[in-house]
């Protein structure tokens, strides 16, 4: 069963997981940037936004590459799936790309434009609205390929360019993805906040987001009866379902409990575990499909030699990638409290410094 195709599909899942855990949280940060508008006190509003910018500044571009890796693996190893997905989901994917472009460029423009409040606010709004829309469209894509709405005959999409995705289930998944990203971001920010009040702000947000995640998970589940019958059947009938569901539930409860008791590092571990389990639960339910119901890992796979070489490239690349990633995160994410002086902390949001 563990053929090379399956291993590569697993690598794609792993890459997607890292994208959600890291890049997803960057989008979630954008959501909280938008919702900082709800904070009345202007100093705290600003402090929240600065913390978010500081948290994602050095890492968002590297995090974003996980998505590129998913796409490259998809078109190299499962070319017909890439072709079918990008045909049937042309519209949501184009919208998602516009979101990705605006999010990234507005974020960088904000860092390098005039520091005047109105200029900053304008870029901030583009950045945060794009951060809100993009995860929904990513979720729509995931929902659509699981839903069975994408119909294929002789390798050609027959379900059209709208029917394939315009349905309640994909959008429920989209909102669920948004809630997950926002939840991850809020939990991470509780660890990264340097002052008590900010930490409390994000603790409250994380708890609210956790509830939203629960509610939307239920909504997705209910819509899946009609919206994605194939994978719902898999998810409820397989032997691994209950252990997986229980593990997911435990991590979710753990995240809430540790947020409640202010053990933020543990909450972060639980939240990441929860999201990982949700993703892999979805992946296991999808198995062996890449696009339900027409394309499987087997029938979409590229020739064996391509798969073998890609696997070698992945292993070799990982030897370079993981140490570099570890180095990046060690520099910017380890021990944010206390390690730096006040002078540095006020500047860290900005990539430039005066010496």
């Amino acid at each position: 069963m563990l053929s090379i195709e399956v291993i590569l599909a697993g690598a794609m899942m792993a890459s997607l997981t890292l994208y959600v855990l890291l890049g997803g949280a960057d989008f979630g940060g954008g959501v909280w940037d938008l919702l900082a508008a709800l904070t009345k006190e202007s100093g705290r509003k600003k402090a929240q936004r600065e913390l978010i910018a500081e948290a994602i500044g050095p890492i968002w571009e590297a995090n974003h590459v996980w998505l590129i890796l998913v796409i490259v693996l998809l078109f190299t190893c499962f070319p017909s799936a890439f072709s079918v997905i990008s045909t049937a989901l042309h519209i949501p994917l184009v919208l998602m790309l516009i979101g990705i472009v605006l999010r990234g460029s507005a974020f960088i423009f904000r860092s390098y434009d005039n520091r005047a409040d109105n200029v900053q606010r304008r870029w901030g709004r583009v950045f945060s609205i794009a951060s809100l829309i993009t995860p929904v469209l990513l979720g729509v894509t995931v929902g659509s390929i699981s839903s069975g709405r994408i119909q294929i005959k002789d390798g050609i999409v027959t379900s059209g360019f709208v029917h394939s995705w315009l349905a309640p289930f994909p959008f429920a998944v989209g909102l669920f993805a948004l809630a997950l990203f926002a939840f991850l971001a809020a939990v991470y920010l509780t660890v990264e906040a340097k002052d008590e009040q900010l930490r409390e702000d994000f603790r409250r947000r994380a708890l609210v987001a956790a509830v939203m995640v629960g509610v939307l998970a239920l909504v997705v589940f209910l819509f899946s009866f009609t919206g994605a019958p194939e994978i719902r059947r898999d998810l409820s009938a397989s032997w691994w379902t209950w252990p997986l569901q229980i593990a997911t539930a435990i991590s979710a409860m753990g995240a809430i409990w540790f947020l409640w008791t202010r053990k933020f590092r543990l909450a972060r571990v639980c939240a990441a575990a929860q999201v990982t389990l949700i993703l892999w639960g979805w992946g296991a339910a999808m198995f062996p499909y890449l696009v339900v119901p027409g394309l499987t890992i087997q029938n979409a796979a590229a020739p064996a030699v391509t798969l073998q070489l890609t696997l070698i490239a992945l292993v070799a690349g990982s030897l370079l990638l993981f140490p570099s990633f570890y180095y990046l995160f060690r520099i910017f994410k380890s021990n944010p409290e206390g390690a730096t002086s006040q002078a540095q902390t006020t500047q860290r949001a900005r990539p430039q410094d005066r010496e």
Binding site: G57, E61, L97, G155, V305, L309, F325, I331, P351, Q352
Partner: protein, 451 residues
Amino acid sequence: MNNLLAARSQMAMSLAFHILFAAAGIAMPLMMVIAEWRWRRTRDEIWLTLAKRWAKGTAILFAVGAVSGTVLSFELGLLWPEFMKFAGPIIGMPFSLEGFAFFTEAIFLGIYLYGWTRVSPRAHLWAGVMVALSGAASAVFVIIANAWMNTPTGFSFYAGKVANVDPIAAMMNPSALGQTIHMVLAAYAAVGFAVAGIHALALLRDKQNLFHCRALAVALAVGGVAAILQPLSGDILGQMLAKNQPVKLAAMEGHFKTEKGAPLHIGGWPDENAKTTRYAIEIPYALSLMAFHDPNATVRGLESFPRDEWPPVKIVHFSFQIMVAAGTAMMLVALWAARRAWLVWRKKGPLDSKWFLRAVIAASPLGFVAIEAGWMVTEVGRQPWIISGVMRTAEAVTPMPGLVVPFISFTLLYVFLGLTVLWLLKRQVADSPRVYADAAKPVEGAGYAFD
């Protein structure tokens, strides 16, 4: 606008936009690393200021390059699903490798930009070196994939299906070496000259400003060396074309008749119906000499190919003329710069004579003009094929209707991004530091715009 034309326009526009930022992502890191290295060696603060200034430019340009590159990786499927279905397994390999190069670039750029006070000076410089190397590596891998579209290798057909896929052989296709060298050099030349032009302009207004003097020196060194080497890589490509893509070469040269001792056409108006290029300056034997290094060699003309396999001759010919003209002008300015550098070194004159600065300013956009024109030659010159001789562009396009809508949307988006980037860079340049030889200290706040 029909769908195929809309798809091609969107792809052309996306590529033309992305290449500007991709080129910056290759060359800017090299320049900022040189400046930082000079600072480490001399402890002269001007170099540090320069490194930080260029790093800011790199940050803006890289971010836009990263997102526009993401768009392209999706557009391969959004616009050309049949192409990717066919080509993915054969040419996915360099894209995978490029993925890792891009990762490395993004990781170390994060460390470089935000890590000035977080890592040791040595580690910081090395982070910059990693960015510069992985930027060039990314370019090499992507261009290898493009080269394969021009000269596809590494597979065969068996009973109408692809067989014997060999991704390594596909990567080693005949165009790969020439094209990668040509584009990497083009990036250094174009960015070097563009940056040099900005600092030359500042020097015209603010003579003796050491900040701009040094910036000009580094930018001209990077751009100038590349511009002087570029004709050599062009020669490699020319010979490769003569052998592997004779129809593209014929279109570039406006060369219609197959003949021995073929002349080179400079300028002129290719008339496809009359099968001749009018009003061109003809240099006898020169085309044979360039294509085969033999003045009497036979060069195939467009006439020897079926008419429906001709690329649009005028566009390819004019683009090629523009590229060569721009490249030649840059090479001449680079030689002038070398001469001036020699005089400075012998202490016989300053680097910044007025006419020289004016020449640098005039040459500064030419590298990007040449890059765009060169890609027109490569891509339009391959038409009507998306994969030379294997798959026609029309067969590869998506069945999705109404492609004119995303084309217009992305065009507007990119115009907006382009103008914003120009505005931000202008802001950066407008408050450059002022440093003069007699007082080796910044005079006006060293121009940190953000505090």
